[in-house]
């Protein structure tokens, strides 16, 4: 029994040294040994092979593969006026504008039933459906048993992900976060100086790089010349808390957020010692003017790091960009938009906070194949003279959606939990009223 105990100890020490030597140290200095590249190549080849087998398999079984990306119905995109006029054209007597027709009800009922079968919003709050299976159980919605080989590969995949990758990644994440807390606290002991800032940036970068390795994250940065500068505000679309790790791997940002308790609170308190972040108490968050003032002060100081804000206010599933809250765009200063797009084949990065809490979410992340994403830095934007904050927000949102290949929606991400405002219904009622009373509005 003692020998067994010794062997386990030695094995553990060896493994730990390997991890530190091969992964942690290169990560801290930003060097890559190429292990991840090899892993990704193997993974891509396996997934491609699996896709071909599944396609062949479903052809043989003659089951039609449902095209998930196309909708189930074809919807008209015309305006209310155009569609109601078209409906009225079939009438036997000539129509006069500014009159009610019994047939008008068809417009609203059609729109209503179309939205019941398929709508633009509700599916943005659940994970994206895949076109072809990526050998993870969790994304196996409409895919059936194909062949023995695929099933074997799948079992092998489960073993690799849960027994080999998960412990490795948990170790890396623990090392990374502890290093952040310890390092930041140490740096915080120094007096304010250029050296302190430089060290703080170093500590932050190192830790986030280790954490990124802890998720097997492969990030492709594009247009690095547009990277956010000091004194600016960086806005990005929000899919998960991991967005912060992804962005902070390539630059240092000042975070904005609520003070939390527990582990997150410890991290928050530690890193604010090293360099200024903006943490709000829960009670302060309600006071909009106070929030804006503090952010404005931070932005005005050109020595402070750029603020990182996610204007959607909540996580959405990375197929679309939802309404940007105008608060971030009223602060002033230069906005640096960033678009983040995850590749869904390797892992589903979306945090469905209704379904999973933070810990289950992180475990899901660490048992995916990998996190692969593209980050595009867009050229900076500032608010024009005649532009309102809302128009500016929409302009930035459109640019991010265009770059990331995401759908640009005006719906509020808050619809995840809240009901839609009655104001929108009233708008529809108003346009319809104009149609039936003609041009003389009451």
């Amino acid at each position: 029994m003692e020998d067994f105990g010794n062997i386990v100890c030695i094995a553990f020490i060896v493994w730990f040294t390997l991890v530190v030597g091969l992964i942690v140290l290169p990560a801290m200095f930003g060097i890559s040994l190429g292990i991840t590249e090899v892993y990704m190549k193997v993974l891509v080849k396996t997934l491609e092979w699996a896709t071909l087998r599944i396609q062949r398999g479903s052809k043989e079984q003659q089951k039609p593969t449902t095209l998930v990306s196309n909708g189930i119905i074809l919807r008209d995109d015309g305006s209310m006026e155009k569609e109601i006029t078209d409906l009225r054209k079939g009438r036997s007597k000539p129509q006069i504008n500014g009159e009610f027709e019994l047939s008008d009800i068809f417009y609203f009922s059609k729109k209503g039933f179309e939205s019941i079968v398929e709508d633009e919003v509700t599916h943005r709050f659940t994970s994206e459906e895949l076109v072809s299976w990526n050998l993870l159980t969790r994304s196996n919605n409409n895919f059936q048993y194909i062949s023995l080989r695929i099933s074997i590969i799948w079992v092998l995949g489960v073993f690799i992900r849960y027994c080999i990758l998960l412990p490795l990644r948990v170790t890396l994440a623990t090392i990374g976060l502890s290093w952040l807390v310890i390092g930041a606290s140490l740096v915080g002991l120094l007096p304010n100086s250029r050296v302190k800032n430089w060290l703080s940036e170093l500590v932050h970068l190192m830790c986030y790089r280790i954490c990124a390795r802890g998720l097997s994250a492969t990030i492709y940065y594009h247009n690095k010349e547009n990277r956010p500068m000091k004194g600016g505000i960086c806005v990005a679309n929000h899919t998960s808390p991991i967005d912060i790790v992804i962005l902070a791997n390539d630059g240092c940002y000042a975070m904005v957020g609520q003070v939390h308790g527990g582990l997150l609170g410890i991290i928050q308190r530690a890193i604010v010692k090293a360099c200024p972040h903006v943490w709000f108490e829960r009670s302060e968050m309600k006071d909009r003017s106070l929030v804006t003032k503090r952010l404005r002060n931070h932005v005005a100081d050109k020595t402070k790091l750029p603020i990182l804000i996610f204007p959607e206010g909540t996580c959405v599933n990375n197929t679309s960009v939802m309404m940007f809250k105008k608060g971030s765009f009223e602060i002033g200063g230069t906005i640096y938009p960033v678009a983040i797009k995850y590749d869904p084949r390797f892992g589903d990065a979306f945090w469905n906070s209704a379904k999973y809490n933070m810990v289950s979410y992180l475990i899901r992340m660490m048992t995916s194949w990998a996190i692969v994403c593209d980050v595009w830095y867009l050229p900076s934007m500032t608010r024009q003279e005649e532009e309102s904050a809302v128009q500016f927000a929409n302009r930035v949102k459109a640019a991010i959606a265009r770059q990331g290949g995401l759908v640009d929606l005006s719906w509020d991400g808050g619809l995840k939990r809240a009901k839609v405002k009655d104001a929108y219904k009233e708008e529809q009622q108003k346009s319809y009223s104009k149609m039936i009373v003609g041009d003389d509005s009451s």
Partner: protein, 179 residues
């Protein structure tokens, strides 16, 4: 359980909806069913933002729920949606002994008629018409003006002089190729 549901539907409704459409609709049904108990309640529908802002949203939601009930299962869900399937060519040469398919033009018009005719007496009265008008225009039109619009509409459509619109009069007014 899945195949059991399929068989039941095919037997009862005799739809020729394709397999993939049923799968997609079932997927949609379960995604709306937040309580995960196999039925939808009114709140589940109201969670769809585009439906919640539709002026006739509540009426449309009510068509799914049979008299006095608060839950609808997948069979009921499909049955109501079947009214809106496009009319297939082969259904035009139908056997007169088989009852009309749910989505024939007549049945679609009857469905729309029922959206107006809340008390199901096969007549749209002035009050019922006013109710629907009020839902569609909100607060933007005065009672008087709305009343005169309703009166004018009934006058045009009414042929038997009972100041109500019957289903036959409704069909005559809405002579479409396909709504």
């Amino acid at each position: 359980m899945f195949t059991g549901v399929y068989n039941f539907i095919y037997f009862l409704i005799s739809l020729t909806v394709s397999h993939s459409q049923i799968t997609r609709l079932y997927s949609r049904f379960t995604s709306l069913d937040k309580g995960e108990n196999g039925t939808l309640c009114r709140e589940d529908f109201q969670r769809i933002p585009e439906l919640a802002i539709n002026p006739l949203g509540d009426r449309i939601i009510n068509t799914f729920f049979p008299e006095g009930e608060d839950q609808v299962n997948f069979r009921g869900f499909m049955r109501t949606l079947a009214h809106f399937r496009p009319i297939d060519d082969h259904e035009k040469n139908k056997d007169p002994n088989v009852s009309e398919p749910l989505n024939s033009r007549n049945n679609k018009l009857l469905f729309a008629f029922r959206l107006y005719d809340l008390d199901k007496d096969d007549k749209i009265s002035r009050d019922e018409l006013l109710q629907v008008l009020r839902m569609m225009v909100g607060v933007n039109i005065s009672d008087d003006q709305l009343g005169s619009i309703a009166d004018r509409t009934i006058q045009e459509a009414d042929q038997d002089g009972d100041s109500c619109i019957s289903f036959t009069e409704f069909i005559k007014v809405n002579f479409y190729t396909s709504p």
